[in-house]
Amino acid sequence: MASEIELIDVTKRYPGTGQPAVDSVSMTIPAGEIVVFVGPSGCGKTTTMRMINRLIEPTSGRITIDGEDTLSLDPDRLRRGIGYAIQQAGLFPHLTVGQNVGMVPGLLGWDKTRSSDRVDEMLDLVGLDPGDFRDRYPRQLSGGQQQRVGVARALAADPPVLLMDEPFGAVDPITRGNLQDELMRLQAELRKTIVFVTHDFGEAVKLGDRIAVLGPQSRILQYDTPEQILANPADDTVAGFIGAGASLKQLTLLRVREVELSKAVTASVTDDPADIRAKLTEAGRGFALLLDDRGRPVSWVHARTPGRPTPVGDSVTLQSTLQDALEAILTEGGAAVVTGSRGEYVGLVEIDTVMSTVRRLREEAGA
């Protein structure tokens, strides 16, 4: 269940200020996608998001959810139908975790049993054991756990739309990474329409189906998929915002199947070492990859010591990111073995391939 959100010429002007905080923003947020608003602090991204659930009323313009004008709805009722998660979670400190998560179902008038079943289900969903956490108070939780509860509370009434305002901004990098992974797992299952605000471009690339790079007054500098933004930044401001690590970030977007694989000299584990040596000399290569009877990579052998193979360590699949491949190359040395869906050998990713991809991306970005 998800809804399309449309912003039409949305403007927010605070009385007594010259320039509007948000100036005539129009965009469509497709149903079931994570759209990340990213931009420097003070650019109006949070204001834009908060106008969707009318925590801030637009000065002019329209916002529709599934075609319905949000201004025609009672704001409290509107908000109960939109999940809301914020930085530092904003949990009610005087209520238990269970009461926090059950708040929106309570506001919607669900009965006690349905509500408490839902609370347990939600805690489970965000990876907190209900028996252990339901009756705790927020102050008894770590920052990461509080954020999980915040997400559980936002999801409790199964809203089609979720607004998340830097929800992982206040936790340490490792926890943040875990929470991001968790959110992606949840989203794969739930397919909500999620508007996610962050100032961290890396987070935007990781989570977003689409990214809206916003400039001052929430002007949309570029609204596209992460791949497109990384490869073709609309202007210098966007390029500057992406930062120097753009090519490396793009490695997380490219899959191994998208680059050209090179071929190793292969042999069967049962082959005679002398034959392997002859094969390598003929091909002018130093290493051969030994495969088992089902074509799966087993070990490497060097031309000078064909009798003493070293086992294949890290391998990657066609679905792995180039980032993963680069890591495997660095641990394996020289090349990473790529395997297919049944673990069979399909090719190699060599360090040169990764390097030339990075170079190509940089040239494209510069063009």
């Binding site: 930085q87 979670a89 904003g90 400190p93 209520l95 506001l107 108070y137 927020p138």
Partner: protein, 216 residues
């Protein structure tokens, strides 16, 4: 007659006055709490309103209680009415100030989350803000109660009820038999009652402040 003989002799009368004293203080505190919390809620969002409310209620406290009662008697007559008005006015400051401090101490992110998940303004106030401000409000009410216990004694000047009657009688008859005993009995009674009420407040706090925000 020793002090204890005096107390034993007048026991029934002293207990009656003590009950009246407590009853007057408690009722006036409840009234002051209702008004004070109301004022606090009304002004806490506005810095100017908060400053004015705090200044006005502080100004009331600077009026000597004798003078205030003296001013009220011509308007309200003798007995309960001037006593109640004076006590309520004196009790306002700590309650108003603590309500403002308590409500302003509510974390912005908590208020934002409450609005964001669809609580009405009244819901945010009653289910979140006042609950979180409650320890501060309760502390204010507790201070007011202690203050009013003492001030209520002066109300005897306006023929108000309570242990003040004993103190005033003792003081006006200074030098005669049992005058000192009478004044001490009244004073001591007030101190004991104040301690008892304070203990009750500690219990109330224990049972009404959420475990999630209790400082322990």
């Amino acid at each position: 007659m020793t002090f204890w003989d005096f107390v034993a002799d007048r026991w029934n009368r002293l207990v009656g006055e003590a009950l009246l004293h407590v009853s007057a203080v408690v009722q006036c505190t409840v009234l002051a709490a209702a008004i004070g919390v109301g004022i606090g809620i009304a002004v806490h969002r506005s810095p100017l309103g908060s400053a004015v409310a705090t200044a006005l209620t502080s100004a009331i406290l600077t009026i000597p209680s004798f003078a205030l009662l003296g001013l009220l008697i011509p308007v309200l007559g003798l007995g309960a009415p001037p006593t109640v008005v004076a006590l309520v006015l004196y009790g306002l400051l700590p309650i108003v100030r603590n309500t403002i401090v308590g409500l302003n101490g509510v974390d912005t992110s908590v208020r934002d989350a409450a609005r964001g998940i669809g609580m009405s303004r009244a819901g945010v106030l009653t289910r979140v803000e006042l609950r979180l401000a409650w320890p501060a409000i309760l502390a204010g009410v507790r201070i007011s109660t202690q203050m009013l216990m003492g001030i209520a004694a002066i109300a005897a000047y306006a023929r108000g009820p309570g242990l003040g009657v004993e103190i005033f009688a003792g003081l006006t008859r200074a030098g005669s038999a049992n005058a000192t005993n009478q004044a001490i009995a009244g004073t001591l009674g007030i101190v004991i009652l104040a301690l008892l009420l304070d203990g009750i407040f500690a219990l109330v706090g224990r049972y009404t402040v959420s475990r999630g925000i209790r400082g322990e």
